[in-house]
Symmetry: C2
């Protein structure tokens, strides 16, 4: 018995004879059973219709694409064995942007990738506004249609660019947060945000891609990564599978940093997950000049104490027009290291008065002067904006600390700290530790994963064995609601200092003088 | 753990709380698992979409309709528990006519039935002509569309008549012969009639009814009874399940009489099936006045030797316009009993010259004189037409004899002789034995089943346990190709006499003098 190494298998079926009148489709079943112990696989009428001529043209040497549901395997495509192409599409379905990757299911190689704005953004930039819009049937349908049509159009573009055929796309895997998953499928999401926060669906069956409106092969199936809860969606699930923390002896922490901080702690024996609001600061969403990473946005900041000025890098090397989350974290860390921010997170204007300016009675730091900026204006950060960042970083740290305490693990015991999400890729762990947002671990423990949601979805298209791991993670993972009680609030208050009221939690910062 | 007694179940789901954030759909899964050991059931996007509002309106008291595939259960409908109606549709998909029955899945009562001409008949009256027509894509699609649209229209009519809602139809079960099954689904049937006679599909997965074009509930699933071989289709399979021969200790024979004679022999331990051409005579399809059973058609014939004339009954009591298969069998038996047909099956004109007339040099029997007929003309049966009946009855007897010999069973050992098909209902076993078409068993062994295909399909909608029986029959049944060798031809020749060359095979006829 061979293990299924890819979702595509080539098989020589037994030849028909008067002595063996097994039906064509049953011959495929028999071959799958004998070779791969796939006991019964479900097809689709579109496959049945094309089957008789395909098997005969191919002289019963066929290539099948399979996909798996919890209980069953599905046959998603049947073609002559020689030179038939079967494609998979992996989607990271983000609230703001989404990423599409086309994979060759035979060679398991990535072919092409595209990154697009989620067109639902024009209805509302954030999840809440979209959920509200979806409270009417028309609004829900509008949101659903926006993303489905855009995705169809992007898939077409990518296929045309690479000379691929959409009709060869047989397996689709989509990873999104709980709300995006529901909006993608056209399912009322309002219950997600209402107490007691029950999503309509967590574990989804494999669906016919055409039923969802995807313009791919008629027998293609869609896999949606399961949600763990209303605030812990399939994107995180894909991330866990990708980082592999569920296979390791040592305890790891996996954090997806965004407006919500989604956190998983655990190892091969247990996994505990929670999510909490961190506020928009970490995504560059609170300051006037805060922006999502895009060309011209500052992603790295240093302070040059000799010159008394900032050195920054921007995405694409363009003149700066704003600053993203990783840039703000760098900035706060640099200000703190250089005594321009005190341990309460307040500007120390007296240290370098020329860097500050008052506007409408509020102190602002001049990050980029008008003559150097891409906007023709000074790029300013205000004290309230810094305050907001401090609250976000304190929330993040408190969530991590609380989760670890819940299971009796000290943060210092963590052997790997996976930082997921595109944004996580850009955070400088040194800066994040300096402001006390992430725990003071040795830097080599931090593993930036990049777009772990997309990577998990892609792996799912390339490695059938991942399905067993998915079931395993589903069984192991416990989702806890963070209990925002007095103790949590006390921890949060202590974490609102730089790096923390309890300096012993950040030994590596002992060289810093304050 | 309760057994599933119907495809509809009412369940109180656990109520959502902050302590239990199980998703709505997962609550249904949990309830099904806990109460019925249905470990995982597959849904459909249309159900997911309506789920959140239904469960909340119904305060988590829901009625679900289920249906089963080999490997899995499917949820086909979800509604509030109180007063929700779920309907099933059973279809006997015959080549000439088809029958539709609507069943209440909750009470398991039959609601309404309709019997219609198969609209594919206008393309070709028989299977062969339709298979030829289906050899082009357009022809296949034309045939498919004809039956699907007609069925949709009939279902609509039946629903309107009874005040039912089509959208409540969630489970559909269709039983047809192998070719009709393929044409219904739009699958190339040509391979069925070409050596080595491999059908594209025997065991069909449960399909989404909408994918097949049926205008029923969006989550409704279609079950097609499996074929055993190219000439032994789902209609026979449904008949086996209905008569229950697969559960009995004693050996039974099940025959569906038509153009093909389909025969199953066996008991609870084994089942052996075969099919052979019997010719159209038994369906009233060879004589000029031969007709399928319909108003005005003679279904019973007696000869009154006193008066020297025929006494007949017609369907609906109308003036006679033709004669159906059971009438022809009666007629031949009466002619034989009264010395008007000799043991070679030739008219004995000398016995009653007034009953015969010569037309175009061929001897005809006057069955009904013009003044009594519904057509204004004499109803005549010619010698070649009688010859054709003799060949058909000989074929039938030879098939039965050969099958029984293959497994070493004597026909006299048979404890029950089920006669399936609507036609089987009308055959007088006494007449069929007299002409040597059926074996000479005691009359109480003959069990006419009526439309066993429809009844099997209806039972399937009413008794979930039948699915296990279906799997059991599938495992047990062996299909054998009848080997038309010299021995078969010898047997056939011997059976072409009335009742048979070997009179000892028909001891009950010993009182007849010839």
């Amino acid at each position: 018995m061979t293990k299924l190494h890819s979702w595509c298998v080539d098989m020589e079926l037994s030849l028909p004879s008067l002595e063996d009148n097994t039906a064509d489709w049953d011959r495929i079943q028999v071959a799958l059973k004998n070779r791969f112990d796939v006991s019964r696989s479900i097809g689709h009428i579109s496959l049945y219709r094309s089957l008789p001529s395909i098997v005969r043209e191919a002289e019963y040497k066929v290539r099948c694409s399979l996909f798996r549901d919890r209980a069953s395997y599905y046959i998603t495509g049947v073609a002559p064995a020689s030179q038939s192409s079967f494609l998979g599409v992996a989607v990271d379905l983000g609230t703001t942007r989404y990423v599409v990757e086309i994979v060759d299911l035979v060679s398991r190689a990535s072919i092409v990738q595209g990154n697009y704005a989620n067109p639902q953004g024009k209805i509302g930039p954030d999840i809440l506004s979209r959920i509200h819009h979806a409270s009417t049937q028309e609004g829900l349908e509008e949101l659903r249609t926006l993303i489905i049509e855009d995705l169809n159009c992007r898939i077409t573009q990518l296929c045309e660019k690479e000379g691929l055929e959409k009709k060869n796309i047989v397996n689709v895997a989509v990873a999104g947060n709980t709300a995006m998953t529901h909006l993608f499928l056209g399912i009322e999401p309002r219950w997600i945000i209402r107490e007691p926060y029950i999503p309509p669906l967590n574990k989804l069956d494999l669906m016919l891609a055409r039923d969802i409106g995807l313009d791919v092969a008629p027998g293609a199936r869609l896999f949606m990564f399961p949600n763990v809860g209303s605030y812990f969606g399939g994107d995180l699930f894909a991330g866990i599978l990708y980082c592999g923390m569920h296979l390791q002896e040592e305890i790891s922490l996996f954090v997806d940093v965004g407006t919500n901080a989604e956190v998983v702690l655990g190892n091969k024996d247990w996994l505990i997950a929670c999510a909490g609001a961190a506020g928009p600061a970490l995504e560059g969403g609170v300051s006037k000049i805060g922006k999502q990473a895009s060309p011209g946005v500052i992603d790295r900041v240093k302070f040059d104490p000799e010159k008394g000025s900032f050195v920054w890098s921007t995405i694409g090397g363009l003149p700066p027009v704003g600053i993203c989350g990783s840039g703000i974290i760098d900035l706060a860390a640099e200000l703190f290291r250089n005594g321009l921010l005190d341990f309460r997170g307040k500007f120390v204007v007296s240290r370098a008065p020329e860097l500050f300016v008052e506007r409408d009675g509020i102190i602002h730091l001049i990050l980029v002067r008008a003559e150097e900026s891409g906007t023709g204006k000074d790029l300013l950060i205000s004290q309230p904006e810094i305050d907001s960042l401090i609250r976000s970083k304190a929330a993040m740290f408190t969530i991590l600390e609380t989760l670890a305490e819940t299971v009796g693990v000290s943060l210092s015991e963590i052997s790997r700290f996976y930082v997921g999400g595109t944004f996580g890729n850009f955070i400088d762990p040194r800066s994040a530790i300096t402001i006390g947002m992430l725990p003071d671990l040795s830097l080599d423990k931090f593993v930036p994963l990049g777009n772990s949601s997309l990577k998990g979805a892609r792996e799912f298209l390339c490695r059938p064995a991942l399905f067993e791991e998915l079931l395993d993670v589903e069984r192991k993972i416990t989702y806890i609601e963070l209990n925002v009680n007095q103790e949590f609030m006390n921890k949060f208050s202590a974490a609102k200092f730089l790096p923390h009221t309890d300096r012993s939690k950040f030994p590596s910062l002992s060289s810093l003088t304050f």
